[in-house]
Amino acid sequence: MSAMILWWSITLAQVLLAAAMLATLYRLIVGPRAQDRVLSLDSMYVVAMLLLVTFGMRVGTVIYFEVALLIGLLGFVGTVALAKFLMRGEVIE
């Protein structure tokens, strides 16, 4: 009984997260400006991280969790570099 409840709820959560990823992908493609695309990329890595956590809940291994931890640690570096690029026109001055 509890296995069935967990299976269905995790599946539904994954469907919702995939829909959220599609929404961020729409904003990534449509734009209209560079900062909108950077913002949608930023929210897309957060959604991907949460999706990996739900995959880890389903399978029960630590590998997915470690990948999610890496994304959480290093994902913001890309956004900071792109914001710096939008501000100044170069990343490292």
């Binding site: 009984m1 509890s2 296995a3 409840i5 967990l6 299976w7 269905w8 709820s9 995790i10 539904l12 959560a13 994954q14 919702l16 997260l17 829909a19 959220a20 990823m21 929404a23 961020t24 729409y26 904003r27 400006r33 900062q35 909108d36 950077v38 913002l39 949608s40 930023d42 929210s43 957060v46 959604v47 991280m49 949460l50 956590v53 739900t54 880890g56 809940m57 389903r58 399978v59 029960g60 969790f65 999610a68 931890l69 959480g72 640690l73 994902g75 913001f76 956004t79 900071v80 792109l82 914001a83 710096k84 939008l86 501000m87």
Partner: protein, 119 residues
């Protein structure tokens, strides 16, 4: 993982928390699509990084703790990193966008608040 050993109330609790987190993340992404200007859009991903992440990571921690039979809270690490870095990145991005919009003289720049002493 064998979910049959998990007690029923834990299963219901984890399901509710995970679904609430996923739904909040989805609402945030939907707001990213629907909002009009960039300065409204920049508020939307924080819904996923605050309570969306809390919901899903709490569900994962509780479920793995009860499936393994010991207390596991690795997920706190992810939440700490995400909640610390998100305001910094979004503030940098907002300042870059503000700089670009001001240089171009765009109409999208939000107007400054009128102080009560100026009226």
């Amino acid at each position: 993982m064998n979910f049959d050993d998990v007690p029923l109330w834990i299963a219901i609790l984890v399901s509710a928390v995970v679904l609430i987190g996923a739904a909040l993340t989805f609402i945030g992404a939907l707001g990213l699509v629907r909002s009009e200007s960039f300065y409204q859009r920049i508020h939307m991903p924080t819904l996923g990084t605050s309570f969306g992440a809390i919901g899903i990571l709490l569900g994962s921690a509780v479920l793995s703790s009860f499936a393994e039979g010991r207390f596991i809270a690795h997920e706190v690490l992810i939440f700490v990193f995400v909640s610390v870095t998100t305001p910094v990145t979004l503030m940098l991005l907002a300042r870059a966008a503000l700089h670009r919009d001001r240089v171009e003289g765009s109409k999208e720049v939000p107007s400054a608040l009128v102080k009560p002493s100026d009226q």
